[in-house]
């Protein structure tokens, strides 16, 4: 995957660039918003990661300008303050996702991966499948083989998010945002509790385990390897 990284803090940038390279991606790292604008016009990237505060041209203006010029490259917006207006502004400017500093690289990688796959699993998909687990998005039913699994609406959404990102790590914050629409960090184990409940229905009665905890990163749904 070809990734454009626009970040003015050299150390953060170097570290992220190295991480992306290790994960098998090609990275162009830039520190200036204006340069990034020119670079985007020349090269077609798969994903870009843009910091909010940049010399030359700030992240918001860069995204707005790019979107105005018809560039549709999926973008992750890095902000210093989570919250309240920064996220909304970033998303309104044309970002597809956002990440608050400080972030773990694994989280950034998980989000980049999720973004790059987004167009493939488009809205038209009505069936999701991982190993013997199938999810019918129209009938709102889940099955493992022939056995139907009873899910509550919120559990269904949780499973859907995990299945759409099958084989990838989905971070705790991604689940909070996409399943519960929580854009703040709860202090209690909301995610853990619901995952363990889902696991009890999804995996416990069956031989093969599909839902895996990735320590310190999040969760991943995949067929046994």
């Amino acid at each position: 995957m070809h990734i454009l990284l626009v970040e003015d803090d050299v150390r953060t940038s170097e570290y992220a660039a190295r991480g992306f390279s290790e994960a098998g991606h090609v990275v162009d790292a830039l520190a200036n918003g204006r340069e990034a604008m020119i670079q985007c016009m020349q090269t077609d990237y798969d994903v870009m990661v843009v910091d909010r505060m940049l010399p030359g041209m700030d992240g918001l203006s860069l995204l707005k300008a790019l979107r105005a010029s018809g560039n549709k490259t999926p973008a992750i917006f890095l902000t210093a303050v989570s919250g309240v207006d920064d996220r909304v502004e970033g998303l309104e400017a044309g970002a597809d996702d956002y990440l608050t500093k400080p972030f773990a690289f694994s989280e950034l990688l998980a989000r980049v991966n999720a973004l790059s796959r987004r167009p493939v699993t488009s809205v038209e998909t009505t069936m999701l499948q991982v190993a013997d687990l199938t999810l019918d998005l129209l009938k709102r039913t889940a099955r493992r083989g022939e056995v139907e699994i009873e899910l509550q609406p919120r559990e269904f959404t949780l499973l859907e998010v995990l299945m759409r990102n099958a084989d990838r790590v989905v971070s705790r914050t991604m689940l909070l945002e996409q399943v519960w629409d929580f854009h703040f960090d709860p202090k209690t184990s909301v995610v853990e509790t619901h995952i363990s409940r889902l696991r009890a229905k999804l995996d416990k009665p069956f031989e093969t385990q599909l839902l895996h905890t990735v320590r310190n990163l999040g969760y991943s749904l995949h067929a046994p390897r």
Partner: protein, 530 residues
């Protein structure tokens, strides 16, 4: 481009009562009969007798609360006092002058009659009187001449005046008709007694006219003064309302509110301009403070991010090591990451509170259903509470909507923070202790307020500590060792404030009850006022 991250200087948390009138608990009416409260603050209690009398009289006659009205009435009273005193002296002086004129006339006559008596005797006097005085005495001039035996020799009035010298008599005292008063001089003329008098009718009439004039002046000036007082009061009330609404917006954290200045350039305008200048300066200071906090936010986040990166990097490298003790290094690094995460959480919460207090979120207010929001939170947290062996009791009808106006995401966070606060303080029930019941209730009052309450029957909070729980970074003694930023309830209060909500912290005995009441229209009105 650096955005201003609003940061309201702290200090505000101290000394708040248990019931916090966030914004205006009761809508302030713009009449003079308004309660003696402004933004939840009471006037100081009266101490001296005079202060008590003043407070009482203002309560009895709310109109007196207007300074302008009091001044207008005061000036009217002063004016009346001046007019009254002037009128009194005018009246007295008029009376005196007229009386002395009358006395002089009587004295003249007396001396003329006296000289005639000296030459011609009693007959001369009678002759003179006959030619001069009309019989009987009607209005202006009267005389009575009595012989040594007291028998009337001549006169145009029936009775004699018994006393000598000057006297004032009523008509019936001397056997005359009418109600006029008379002025007499009685003196001896040889062996005879002579009384000469004049009617005071004309003078009395004049006096009545004067008194009437004064009374009319009094009445008209009272009417005009009251009208003027009313007008001045209305005028100054309008200006005061301008001040009040500006100050209210300031109290809401809108530092760009300014006091209106009229074109007159009078003392009030001078005060308004001085105040605006002070506000400009204050706003400048606060803005630069905000800018500083934004800069700090950014400048701290970058190194915090690097710290994260290094720890994360080190941890993943250590995990890859095939060496003894690698696992311990990894877990030590992960502890470091968790600590960095805690620092970040505290920092984030402080910034978020500051952002909320600045009120910029008001722009994104919309109508939403509180019942639905609560139901969502309850649905999510039922599992978490059950996991601890406790019970989440939902005591409201999710199907009955509780419409309110505000920021759904923030209100959801308010609810979540209250529930999480209850969960943290409830501890683990189930196996070890008894199960704690966490209750979520909601409803509406009079169609004007919606309220929600989160209760628990856990250990509760000592009475003395209750008013401190909303302070930033405050943590109960027993929860110092648990995780948490000490900002969850501060955030609750900031969100409640933003929505004109008031928080009541009550005792459930055992346990606690947090109740948040939202004034339904207040955020809307505030949004309109800007």
């Amino acid at each position: 481009m650096r955005r201003a991250e609003p940061m309201r200087s702290g200090g505000q948390a101290g000394g708040q009562a248990l019931v916090m009138p966030a914004g205006e608990a009761q809508a302030r009416t713009e009449t003079l009969g308004a309660p003696l409260r402004a933004r939840g603050r009471d006037c100081p209690s009266p101490a001296t007798l005079w202060q008590h009398v003043r407070r009482w009289s203002y309560q009895q006659v709310p109109l007196l609360r207007s300074t302008a009205f009091r001044m207008a009435v005061g000036f009217w009273l002063l004016m009346m006092l001046c007019t009254g005193t002037a009128g009194f002296f005018f009246h007295e002086r008029l009376q005196q002058t007229a009386m002395s004129k009358i006395d002089e006339t009587i004295r003249d006559r007396m001396s003329v009659i006296g000289s005639i008596y000296g030459v011609q005797g009693v007959e001369g006097v009678i002759g003179l009187a006959r030619s001069r005085a009309s019989e009987p005495m009607r209005s202006e001039f009267g005389m009575h001449l009595a012989g040594p035996d007291g028998v009337r020799l001549y006169g145009n009035m029936p009775d004699a005046i018994p006393v000598s010298g000057w006297s004032t008599r009523n008509a019936d005292d001397i056997g005359l008709d009418g109600h006029d008063r008379y002025r007499f001089f009685t003196g001896a003329m040889g062996d005879n007694r002579l009384s000469i008098g004049m009617s005071l009718g004309a003078l009395d009439q004049l006096r009545a006219v004067a008194v009437q004039c004064l009374l009319w002046a009094f009445a008209v000036s009272m009417l005009l003064s009251l009208l003027a007082a009313w007008w001045v009061m209305r005028h100054s009330r309008r200006r005061m309302l301008g001040f009040e609404s500006a100050l209210e917006r300031l109290a809401d954290g809108n530092l760009s509110a300014r006091v209106p200045v009229s074109t007159a350039g009078d003392d009030v305008d001078l005060m308004a301009m001085t105040m605006n200048a002070a506000l400009d300066r204050l706003k400048g200071n606060v803005d630069s403070l905000r800018q500083v906090s934004t800069d700090i936010a950014h400048d701290l986040k970058t190194p915090l991010n690097r710290l994260y990166i290094h720890l994360d990097d080190a941890a993943s490298r250590a995990a890859g090591l095939d060496q003894e003790g690698a696992g311990e290094i990894v877990s030590a690094l992960e502890d470091g990451l968790a600590e960095a995460g805690q620092i970040n959480a505290t920092f984030e919460a402080l910034l978020r509170i500051a952002q909320i207090e600045a009120g910029s979120r008001r722009a994104s207010f919309a109508h939403f259903d509180l019942a639905e929001t609560l139901a969502t939170a309850c649905e999510i947290y039922t599992a978490v509470v059950e996991e601890d062996g406790n019970v989440l009791a939902v005591a409201f009808d999710a199907a009955r909507s509780l419409p309110m106006y505000g920021d759904r995401e923030l209100v959801l966070q308010l609810v979540v923070n209250l529930i999480e606060n209850a969960i943290r303080h409830a501890g683990k029930g189930g196996g070890t202790g008894r199960a704690i019941t966490i209750g979520v209730q909601a409803g509406q009052r009079d169609g004007e307020q919606v309220w929600l309450a989160v209760t628990d029957d856990g250990p509760g909070i000592p009475e003395a500590e209750r008013d401190k729980v909303f302070q930033r970074l405050y943590r109960l003694e027993r929860s110092r060792t648990t995780s948490g930023t000490g900002l969850g309830l501060s955030l609750v209060r900031a969100i409640a404030d933003l929505h004109c909500g008031s928080i009541r912290l009550g005792d459930q005995a055992p346990g606690l009850r947090f109740e948040v009441t939202f004034d339904r229209d207040c955020p809307l009105e505030k949004a309109r006022r800007g």
